[in-house]
Subunit: 224 residues, 6 copies
Amino acid sequence: MSSIVVQHIDRADSAIIDGLAKCGVATVHEAQGRTGLLASYMRPIYTGARIAGSAVTISSPPGDNWMVHVAIEQLQPGDIMVLAPTSPCEDGYFGDLLANSAQARGCRGLIIDAGVRDVRDLTEMQFPVWSKAIYAQGTVKNTLGSVNVPVVCANGLVNPGDVIVADDDGVCVVPRAQAEAVLKAAEAREANEGDKRAKLASGVLGLDMYKMRERLAAEGLKYV
Amino acid sequence: MSSIVVQHIDRADSAIIDGLAKCGVATVHEAQGRTGLLASYMRPIYTGARIAGSAVTISSPPGDNWMVHVAIEQLQPGDIMVLAPTSPCEDGYFGDLLANSAQARGCRGLIIDAGVRDVRDLTEMQFPVWSKAIYAQGTVKNTLGSVNVPVVCANGLVNPGDVIVADDDGVCVVPRAQAEAVLKAAEAREANEGDKRAKLASGVLGLDMYKMRERLAAEGLKYV
Amino acid sequence: MSSIVVQHIDRADSAIIDGLAKCGVATVHEAQGRTGLLASYMRPIYTGARIAGSAVTISSPPGDNWMVHVAIEQLQPGDIMVLAPTSPCEDGYFGDLLANSAQARGCRGLIIDAGVRDVRDLTEMQFPVWSKAIYAQGTVKNTLGSVNVPVVCANGLVNPGDVIVADDDGVCVVPRAQAEAVLKAAEAREANEGDKRAKLASGVLGLDMYKMRERLAAEGLKYV
Amino acid sequence: MSSIVVQHIDRADSAIIDGLAKCGVATVHEAQGRTGLLASYMRPIYTGARIAGSAVTISSPPGDNWMVHVAIEQLQPGDIMVLAPTSPCEDGYFGDLLANSAQARGCRGLIIDAGVRDVRDLTEMQFPVWSKAIYAQGTVKNTLGSVNVPVVCANGLVNPGDVIVADDDGVCVVPRAQAEAVLKAAEAREANEGDKRAKLASGVLGLDMYKMRERLAAEGLKYV
Amino acid sequence: MSSIVVQHIDRADSAIIDGLAKCGVATVHEAQGRTGLLASYMRPIYTGARIAGSAVTISSPPGDNWMVHVAIEQLQPGDIMVLAPTSPCEDGYFGDLLANSAQARGCRGLIIDAGVRDVRDLTEMQFPVWSKAIYAQGTVKNTLGSVNVPVVCANGLVNPGDVIVADDDGVCVVPRAQAEAVLKAAEAREANEGDKRAKLASGVLGLDMYKMRERLAAEGLKYV
Amino acid sequence: MSSIVVQHIDRADSAIIDGLAKCGVATVHEAQGRTGLLASYMRPIYTGARIAGSAVTISSPPGDNWMVHVAIEQLQPGDIMVLAPTSPCEDGYFGDLLANSAQARGCRGLIIDAGVRDVRDLTEMQFPVWSKAIYAQGTVKNTLGSVNVPVVCANGLVNPGDVIVADDDGVCVVPRAQAEAVLKAAEAREANEGDKRAKLASGVLGLDMYKMRERLAAEGLKYV
């Protein structure tokens, strides 16, 4: 497989991206039909971050972070790097030096199906990372990979330019072409949830609010 | 297996429950003969919570949270929900809407051998959850389960009305009938520990305080 | 295998140890040729601690913490205990009583390829622990082990007196005899990194700073 | 918790037990409403065995197989030992010596939520074991446990005298009191399946045999 | 997300498919540039099978095998079913009844990122399955999914009609459009390997055959 | 860390090695005081092999099998290769070509804390491998490692020339200097076990044979 860097990728509109960030992972995931989540082992290195951005994807050999340097040149403000190793690996591909470089180009964070290090520095810099592992293991720069090709990351497909939404609940991928529609559905959902939340908080039961009692009885639920 | 909701369960006395909360998981577990712990993968979504309450149990199909709505109606102030899926699952059965509803009924928290989502909201609400995963994956409402039947949750048996104690060390189950005796043993243990703690902090060695030297020598330990 | 306690071990110079603490795990690991890391599942019970100290090693049977009491007597100020069970185990060998005792002797922390409990107390005391699990499960005091013998802990070899460096990135072992040389290499690395960090933060690309473009082209990377 | 050996337990009728063995795990599990399975990590040490028997349960400390000797005295022909450690452990509690002893008393096999060793010998003896691990790690005989008390084994509740069914698909527990009813349901299921199997093997589609087409359309499935 | 069944998919030429089967997973994977492998946890239920076929893909909810019935109607002789649940699941979606049905339509096997049951029967029928788990847990038929849409299965992307190659080494996906080129490369590789194998078996060292000595020395390898 | 190949290593006497093979892993492990086992995830690619040999150790970067070629030149008849990657990896470092080369030099097998491929060929050749994974993922030849240096493999320390014993129970490491003493202890154990086995098979209880009843009573075991 030849190693390539795709220099031009299409990105979603920044207003759409920022709207998706506001909705958060759980809502966006529901809004697009319960699809797009990466594996639950992808955890943030610190809590509280909620971001969205355009995916700049990196396909890298295990234990080799050469392509991260290549990818950083392709970053535009608002992008999020998504790194998938070509075989399972938890090495620390990324640390504070690379984070400084990425942040200088406006990068909003990193999604990596491998390891990350210097997490104290990254936390201080407020450069958020969702990773499979925290591990100081260093990497080499010997073998090529590719930038901005489709990758499978943590059991999810990511195309370059897809919108990545990430927060304490995990990471969700929104295909670029659907981003606008998903945002609308997510915002509708949010509007609707505010009302529900108030009712439930006031003591109304979901059983009544969602009119579940009849169907439960029909299915045969017995109260004893 | 028919799906049932047991509407009346016996609960331990609230003073006993609150006493157990104060002792915490490690002490309570020791006090009842080193039994009752759930698996160590059950982790809190935020640190610092220490609760106890009566178990309202939920047996649910994988990926189906219908029974949570049913269970919430059965909650009394001071209860803790305990959800065990009928096959392994990490879907996010529970989020901020359900937490509002549960909190409105006085529920103290959730123990779930599956996933949870909206953890930022749950943290802000101070609704504590101990779970196997944090995962935004949504669930359906199609298949019945049961409420307030015995369940095996995270490799531990939980009967409805058992006292659940949970803190940063994990989750411990105290059978309702033993709750009073366990509390006494736990408080005795605590009283005793205060004294030991002071001695150890002052530099007295456990070897001397517990008079271990002779037995170590008898077993053949050699200092070289 | 006879059970022994080695009472005299050589330790590295305290200035060297403190220097290594300042450099942190990722830098020290690189400085000694990318060796010495323990497995990535060794995680701190709270974030923010960065310590170094001389290893007092403990080889213990599974579920038996008798040797911890024996080890504490061998501690000198600045030491770090390193416990490896003789078969995989996640029981809570260590809690706040033992921490009080260890802290009274100047112990800086614990590295344990098993479980720990009372983590709320340990956090309040600021006694840092890196462990495989947080688990309240108690242990017995029935079977001997050894203190200050070589152990394999979390897939890394630790000799008594080796320098342990631990922070949010994990745990690294520096053989005592190499500690001085590793410190020098680590400090050189740090000095060098400050300069790089500034350049990268100002927008200079790693591709240019490290002069990678020619080699990438030679390897066949194609920009499309 | 005091350590006890319950010497008399009730067992199901041997014809019922043998009938359940013939049906196998998947059918029995379905016949009792999709309940009773132990965790999927419980794997047979060799393929092809299909057994059923009455559970003689063992609650043992981690890494301590003393209670196995105690349990063997309680075995009657047709029994199956079920061992659950009180905290997670993969040590080899059981090997060919104990298997000779158990087989001499008519024991049909072992279900162990821990490790087993001498698997080549056990295979030659055709003494089947379902375990969490194969591991040569030895155990001690220092701490008491109990025999014939309820245990939670591999996330399933087992009461002494329950019928254990085990084959290449895993392990299923049938509560003694329900064994007869479950057998009837299982045999009915089997009779019914023979007919279905023949139809499906002849090319009839499940879509038609189960009359699914209408409901699929009603749910909104689209053929494109 | 609407649920669809794509009824027409393009398949690779059967001679190409059979040629890829002969080469086996390791060779095919190398021949297409070390890409296309599914996760290593995908293991065969019995050893010795080596198959290739066209992927008929199934996206299914967790614990719901309704879509398998739908997919079987879409099978053509030589096809392989590839099932990916929409969230992690190890339930037994597939057993001997479905295998009879699939085999009646010429299906060569199943790749499933979940569980399978009746493995003794499947082995006797020689219907090979590569799965994440063997687990008797039953499923329901309540929620729609899709057939012949792109799926991510065991961390690999599979498009309907892609060629699946599976043997004791695991599972490899060959994009349909590249199948012919990959076969050529694989066969060339095989031809080449026969010669190498003979040389190595005769005692010629890889160091000499691949002329590695000079490069090793240049990199700094020292013989001591 | 410089990369070295140690060309001369001391080996144990071949009669001792062959004697240890006959005893098998479980017995040898007991005979040396329950030490030396590698992690239980190290499983044989086929059952029935029981080997012993002198360790030729390989420390390799993740995903890079260059050093295997270097190690093969160092093999003498009766040796076993032991490969430990410098960070966790499950790539297939080894397949049938390398096995032909190793077998040509009299190598008895491979212990690898990573992946292996071509397992069908290796099984036919009867070249046994104990590995962490079976995975077709290829490796590169870019970065040096070392041969015949001490390595930590699957949580066990292996020095070059140590005796490796491996069978269906796993892998055990016997330090070369202790090999003779361990063999004696193992053979004594075996002699002793034959007698015990016969007694137990005849129905004598371990409780009586080991005279456990008194100690059990003293510890407080109650028969009810």
